[in-house]
């Protein structure tokens, strides 16, 4: 009787054991290991010796001008880039619904916008790298149109160039979410508003946008998370350069840990970077809660 009971209690644990083991081995243990490492100075290419430095690594990261400016770039890149993606995506979605009536044409246009998103990040990055060289196709077209060529990969512009490529590729996601949100708004509300004599602008402000708030917030969150961990295009298009002009925290982190092999310092940096993400999410959810 008792054995029967204890077996009943244990069964669920056996069932969830395999994923548990996996999570402990590949997620939780490495995280804890990273905390342990972050309190040490350790370069495995020089010696297996780890020197305990306490919170020294953390203090150094917070004082590291290179890290802070990478963080600044990240906020510029994410803030401006994601905002543009969101505004542009929403505008295009609303325009599609407003001006394209035939379902077939709508699908066609949507698919066209979605195509870049289907492309692997690395492929898109490689393609654009070729397009934006100083004598690349884009500049050739500009010259042909009578403009002067643009130094897309120059120090001042490089990060913005990557941002534009990212906008080209990822505007489709907020577009798709905004489109779905827009077509889920009952027509009756619009007809009601028209009968009330509301102008198009008022209808946009009072019905469309309030109604799309939550889906758009989710689109923002998805894109922000993606751009927070963004690495691929930087890696392929500029490798952080020229100088450190396109160095985002993820790239600097990668360099620190896996090129310079300052493993303890890198671990501390990744924890700080992670905590910033948690704080950002916390504020985001507070905002989202207040909105709904």
């Amino acid at each position: 009787m008792l054995r029967e009971k204890s077996r009943k209690i244990k069964t669920p644990y056996y069932l969830i054991m395999p994923p548990q083991v996996l999570i402990w081995v590949v997620v939780i243990f490495p995280l804890l290991w990273a905390i342990y490492i972050s309190f040490h100075d350790w370069n495995p290419t020089i010696s297996p010796q780890r020197t305990f430095v306490g919170i020294g690594n953390y203090l150094n990261v917070l004082r590291d001008a290179r890290f802070l400016s990478a963080l600044g770039r990240m906020f510029y890149y994410s803030g401006v880039g994601v905002t543009i993606q969101l505004v542009l995506g929403t505008a295009i979605a609303l325009a599609i619904v407003e001006y394209i009536r035939s379902p077939r044409w709508r699908t066609t246009v949507l698919v066209l916008f979605l195509l870049p998103m289907m492309m692997a990040e690395a492929v898109a990055a490689q393609m654009w790298t070729l397009l934006i060289t100083d004598t690349g196709t884009i500049n050739n077209i500009l010259v042909w149109l009578g403009f002067s060529p643009v130094g897309w990969r120059a120090k001042e512009l490089a990060l913005t160039t990557i941002m534009i490529v990212d906008i080209w590729q990822w505007t489709a996601l907020p577009l798709l979410i905004a489109y779905a949100a827009r077509i889920s708004i009952p027509d009756g509300l619009y007809e009601s508003a028209r009968l009330d004599g509301a102008s198009k602008w008022l209808i946009l402000r009072k019905i469309t946008l309030p109604y799309m708030r939550v889906p758009l917030a989710i689109a923002f969150l998805l894109r922000f998370m993606d751009s927070y961990k963004f690495l691929d295009k930087v890696f392929i298009m500029t490798y952080g350069g020229p100088g450190t002009a396109t160095e985002l925290p993820t790239f600097y982190l990668y360099q620190t840990a896996f090129s310079y092999f300052k493993v303890g310092y890198g671990a501390a940096m990744s924890w700080i970077f992670g905590i910033i993400a948690v704080i950002a999410m916390f504020f985001f959810w507070r905002l989202a809660k207040r909105m709904s």
């Binding site: 009952p186 009756g188 007809e191 009601s192 028209r194």
Partner: protein, 375 residues
Amino acid sequence: MITVSVSHLWKRYGKTVALQDVSAEINGGSFFCILGEPGAGKTTLLRIIAGLEVPDEGDVFFDGQNVTLVSAQKRNVAMVFQDFALYPHMTVFENIASPLRAIKAEEGKIRERVHEVAAFLKIEHLLDRSPLYISGGEKQRVAIARALVKEPKISLFDEPLVNLDFKIREDMRAQFKLMQKEFNQTIVFATPDPVDAMSMADQVLILHEGKVQQFATVWEAYYRPSNMFVATYLGFPPMNILSGELREEGPHLFFVASGLKVDVTDLPGIREVRERKLLVGIRPEHLLLGDEKGAEISWDGEVLLSEIVGSDTIVHLKVGKDLGLRSFVPGIYRVAVGARVTVNLRRDNIYAFKESGESVIFPGRHESLFNTFKG
């Protein structure tokens, strides 16, 4: 208050013809019902009047002015949708206020108007609530309040009662009538329920498959139906229809239908009927049970079923050779199944139709009688 008229409206959606040559005139200050089954074209007609749709052919006039191509924004028409279409992200107050906000009315005037209308509809206690968390009847009132608040030229209601339960529906009918008087409104009311039309409407436009069947006052449509569709549609339970033929025997004229023989010699108008095959209609409320004094026609019937509906009774009878008839008896009438009863009918309550459905005999034919009905 304006007079709205529509003339020769046609509207097609792909292959379906929603409206076919619909014309009508809606007098200012009247309660106008568009009556028809689902798919009859009621909503399309309302939407054309509102300006949400443009007809393929035909015109809409507001006080003689052609507004066919004027946008909905500029018509100052109010419409209450079947699903109410309340803005879920605004409070009840903001919902009601929205038409006034759209025309940028003063804040003070908005408050005053909203409270005035809310007080009339008894929804003042809901003003701070979200429309997501109020009952169907309350949503209905909010939608009506939103329509009333801007003092529209004309108010359109698209089947506003169908989503409500029986009790509230009864209540709302009275409210609609009161409201029309109180706010001096022109109301166009689309409904599939003849009871709505009969209890509220001054005039009724009966649609079937996009075609006008009859455009008249309710009583005229009831006593002088233009065809069998109108006759059976108006009235509950629907009219009994007997298929039979006219037979001449000497100086007498009889209507014969499965074992029943009715002397119709003196029925006004019967001599002008050319067709021999006829459909005779008898309203259940005109079939009286028991020993009726002065009954002109009496049959023996057998009770098949007695059905109590609300506070009235519908008695299903078998008359003659297997002829099923329904009789409507006011009040609760207890009668055993299988009982024999006498079924009485006054001759001037007989309706008759050609096989095509066109009316040939109806009570309203007798002008004097009709005038008493009109009351």
